[in-house]
Symmetry: C2
Subunit: 334 residues, 2 copies
Amino acid sequence: MSLRSEIFEQSDVLRAAQSENTRIAAEARDILTGPEIGHVLIAARGTSDNAARYAKYAWGTKLSMPVTLAAPSLYTKYQQPPDLSAAAVVGISQSGQSPDLLSVLAEGRSQGRPTIAITNDPGSPMADIADLVVPLLAGPERSVAATKTYTASLLAIAMIASDLPDLDAIPDSVMGALDAEPAIIDAAQRTGPMPNAVILGRGYNRSTAFEWALKLQEMAYVLANPFSTADFAHGPFAVLEQDFPLLAIAPAGAMADDDLTLVRRARDEGDARITLLTNIDVPDLPTVNLPMIEEWLSPIMFIVAAQLFTLHAATLAGVDPETPRGLKKVTRTT
Amino acid sequence: MSLRSEIFEQSDVLRAAQSENTRIAAEARDILTGPEIGHVLIAARGTSDNAARYAKYAWGTKLSMPVTLAAPSLYTKYQQPPDLSAAAVVGISQSGQSPDLLSVLAEGRSQGRPTIAITNDPGSPMADIADLVVPLLAGPERSVAATKTYTASLLAIAMIASDLPDLDAIPDSVMGALDAEPAIIDAAQRTGPMPNAVILGRGYNRSTAFEWALKLQEMAYVLANPFSTADFAHGPFAVLEQDFPLLAIAPAGAMADDDLTLVRRARDEGDARITLLTNIDVPDLPTVNLPMIEEWLSPIMFIVAAQLFTLHAATLAGVDPETPRGLKKVTRTT
């Protein structure tokens, strides 16, 4: 049961990383806001790419930095890397091993740009290449599905974004999400079987929608489709007359009115089975109620609830999320 | 039948735009490669966001420019726009009306940055804000689902990327895709019903995978899930044991070996119903054979085949793609 225990470790992991990484996060912040930096280029894949989606908003609002997600194939398959002369280059990778991400950091270095590695392995090749290493300090992650390294990546990004005391609320909010497990189990049971699903989130929590979808794919074999709430309101809304789960993240904050309007519209016009993760009081919708925290930090707390939801959805579907068939297949063809 | 006729207009529309826009595309190229430009920030939504995905590769390889996709909510909901002092700002919008995209261009302008509008309406607010307007010249688009304005946007991006004679092959390649309609109808019939689907493409044709998925959502109410081929090989591969359509784009070029390896693996290990759009000879897979063209220009040709596939898939499913229920709902809540 390493997956479940790794999910439940997260409050402690985050508390420890928060106390350890203060100085190194400030160094990273100085690099990213240096006078010659016009944008931050992030190289990441999979779960770490969802952390990069969070950085786009967190560093956009807190550091005023435009964030560019790298297209690694420009550096590898096409061998035509762009001119990075205005960039700081950041790699995010649990293992620090992925060759295409190393290519992006190596290119940044060869163009004389500052490079930062956010990784759980300070002895990895990515850490070797980078000027500065922000360690995730999450301990070994044995499960195929990344959980604690994802929230540790979000925390590192948030700590680089700001040293405001706001961040002190993170570990307790995560504990609150873990304590909500009974309500989350109820929600998973109410949702029922899900061969497919739509996941909605916006702004800071666009990252949460994408990461929840990835967890559902990896752990429960659900063909989950993440959307920004803003995009879903257009063309994709048409699919809603089908009967499938609609899972949404609706934090207190700037997006709340729009998020709730769309979910209520889905309830009124479609056949979807709705579950809303929220920290707002919404008596007219099926919700899992979670702790209050600043919107910009809420993705760390919301994804923990989403991980638990996914774990129980997999178990209810008779799938063992500890041994996903996805990994075996990937391993076979490496 | 405006949708079908708009799809079939594309070869002529592209030929005309190509001859008209040479000078203006060169002006745009000069702006984007100016000495003080460190990256290009693109503001776009929906179909135009998929065109921006293409620009990330086309401008990355041909202009050596890193491309950043804007997060419009930083400018609107969160009201904390980033520092754009190294950016050129490009808006892509068929109508040139969307308020959130206008906010991004207006912010670029107020920060003294060069701005370009790629739009089908040179009298639109977006065109008014921009320093330079690249008109799509696609004529009025009456269908809800954008088709000719999408390929016209890709052409505009390609013309800004390069004035190589390679581009002259585009209209004929699109004509070749239109001529493949009988084979495309066969493929749609063979694919059969599709409540959901996975769409795979990589590199330049990551844009095609995302746009094909959006067309399937809008026109045929298919819960289509686009993936980069590189990302799908990891976690999401596990979902393949279900029986659903797997649609893939495999152009001749740098990605071909990886693309075909993954699709063959899906055939051997999963239960998916495969259709491959390709211009490579692949006798062992179910393909629609399309014209040869340089990989970097192939998204313009491939999406035309994908539009036709979607039109016929909708018709076979008894859905009228001319009057998608999505639009009515969006209109009601505007």
